[in-house]
Symmetry: C2
Subunit: 228 residues, 2 copies
DNA sequence: ATCCCAAACGGACCGCGGTCCAGTTTTCTT
DNA sequence: AAGAAAACTGGACCGCGGTCCGTTTGGGAT
């Protein structure tokens, strides 16, 4: 057993509260905001530099070009620092996606209907899926690269939040169903890897993907599909 | 661009016919059969030794302990040989699952109903899911370890076959639906990583998983759930 | 201003997946 | 039987993710 308690306090990013949901102001672009709670001055500065460097690398060479060593070098920082701050490569990539994630969560919780509260649950589900598909398609390579290993795939905070949201809507729309299991099924349709496969490798147009979602929601909730 | 045509003819295993389905006799245990079409004598011998060694390592240290170098050493073979034969780690692990895969395919195509032909499509779908769940749970760690990277996850031959099967049944059961997209949704429910998460990390009992499948099939096909 | 230590740093280090290529073995041809 | 082409082999090699640990530094306490 190579077990020994890690010298790092490990991941600052993804732990947070064990339950879901934390919001932040959508302030500046990548890096320059003030959300990490208690972080030493130099640490905060390096964190910002790392995120900026990573974003630049993504823009230049795509997500595949984001090497931990490259990011460290581009930020003029030691490799260990990158891992200390973000835990692992996935953590770094997820941090890069954090802004859009926060915005999305805000829209779900407090934005205008049908995405936000105020619309009937089935309608909100439809809107949710279409928004997710749009977002996934827009950030495909990053989302794909940020996918955690199979064991951790379903335990990341953003994913849990989104699935919880779907489960909540399902509970309202179909109280008699196993909304936990059903929410996993719905989320799976929106999975980045699947979306990538269908759009890039099978040539399925986004409109058909969205139509498929609408139909799926209708079937799962045993409702009629919308007229349009 | 580091592009250069590989010195290997690359993967002999997973290519095969571009379309689905190839069957084999379920002869001996791991390794000693005669399926690879044209393989030099020593190559065939080494292939068998590698599979045997890999199976032993899985049995001893779990799928995580199956290191390419370890397999090569255990089979008294060079590391390059392992990659030449199986392409990559995923290929080796999938080869390890090949027997059960072949058996499963055979049961779907020619076995007794309701899994095989003869039963109404919805009933076959139900049986398919339950069988898949049972198989996934039985081989969880190996299935998990054999999962390809996100880009290739949906292009492996076994996966394509199974999904095609579901799409076929769906086409019969709900001719008006987009059975391609729906089949992806149904398959996603049976995904090894999800099953692992639900059973191992959330403590969902298999019976509930199967009930969830039955319910999902009923909703998707807009049929009544079975009485029992 | 000084001390002190938890926190942060950085780069040497490790293991593994994957590639390359010079040399060996098999099989085909005549 | 001999020779040549094709297929196969093995291990040195590379890059990257991730860890370790000796050193530095920020910032609260005195």
């Amino acid at each position: 057993m190579p077990a020994a308690l890690p010298p790092f306090p490990k991941p600052q990013e993804t732990v947070g509260p064990p339950e879901l949901l934390q919001l932040g102001t959508g302030a500046a672009a990548t890096g320059t905001e003030e959300d990490e709670p208690c972080l030493r001055a130099d640490a905060a500065r390096n964190r910002a530099r790392l995120l900026e460097a990573a974003a630049r690398l993504v823009a230049e060479h795509g997500a595949a070009g984001v090497t931990m060593e490259a990011v460290a070098a581009a930020a003029s920082v030691g490799k260990g620092t990158v891992f200390r701050r973000f835990g692992d490569r996935t953590g770094l990539l997820m941090a890069l996606l954090d802004h859009s994630e926060k915005n999305f969560q805000a829209a779900l919780l407090g934005g205008p209907p049908p995405l936000g509260p105020g619309a009937p649950p089935v309608e909100r589900l439809r809107a949710f899926g279409c928004a997710m598909l749009r977002r996934s398609i827009a950030e495909l390579d990053l989302q794909l690269a940020a996918e955690p290993s199979a064991e951790r795939r379903y335990t990341s905070a953003p994913r849990r939040f989104l699935r919880g949201h779907v489960a909540l809507l399902l509970r309202q729309a179909v109280p008699d169903a196993d909304s936990e299991l059903l929410s996993h099924t719905l989320m799976a349709y929106l999975d980045a890897a699947l979306v990538h496969h269908l759009t890039e490798q099978c040539g399925v147009p986004p409109t058909r993907l969205r139509a498929g979602w609408t139909d799926l929601v209708a079937r799962v909730t045993r409702t009629e599909p919308p007229p349009a």
